[in-house]
Amino acid sequence: TQLLEQSPQFLSIQEGENLTVYCNSSSVFSSLQWYRQEPGEGPVLLVTVVTGGEVKKLKRLTFQFGDARKDSSLHITAAQPGDTGLYLCGGMSGGSNYKLTFGKGTLLTVNP
């Protein structure tokens, strides 16, 4: 069974700080997706990465996919209170192009 671990589980920082959260597995992913989820809402897709070593940027968010496609990171520059939420990574592997396996997420709080 594929296990996807996210760290840290909780992160509380001040507005303006930088942060990185991680998503790791022993399995190789065909694709990996990052979502942000706010309380009472469904996950909102931020980015999809598919190529080892790939880097994608979304405003102040930078996503990196590991060369071996087993891990990924999300770096946020100059965090803002609006970045607060649960960050989830979900990966597809084992030849599946539909079943997402998620980690438990990183709960980020950005204090003004």
Binding site: S31, G42, V50, L88, Y98, L100, K104
Partner: protein, 114 residues
Amino acid sequence: GAGVSQTPSNKVTEKGKYVELRCDPISGHTALYWYRQSLGQGPEFLIYFQGTGAADDSGLPNDRFFAVRPEGSVSTLKIQRTERGDSAVYLCASSLGGRTPEQFFGPGTRLTVL
């Protein structure tokens, strides 16, 4: 365009009762997924539809859970003889299908079994 919609947003029921949860996917999306999210956990895969058929129902916990998608659009997740352990947020997602991996989620239905 409209995103994935789910009804009801909240459902409170008593142990042993039957419930139905509805999902309306994004127009034109052929693939539909159900996930379950318990408190403090990420979403857990339940079932995947491609068109009208359930292509993979390996995530359904037991035979009390069943889902249909009779016309290849709206889907209903049905839970019989509900148990307190079924309490969770049930999320629906849809995608274009094929080799497109991006899945778009609805707001979820929060099910509470008393």
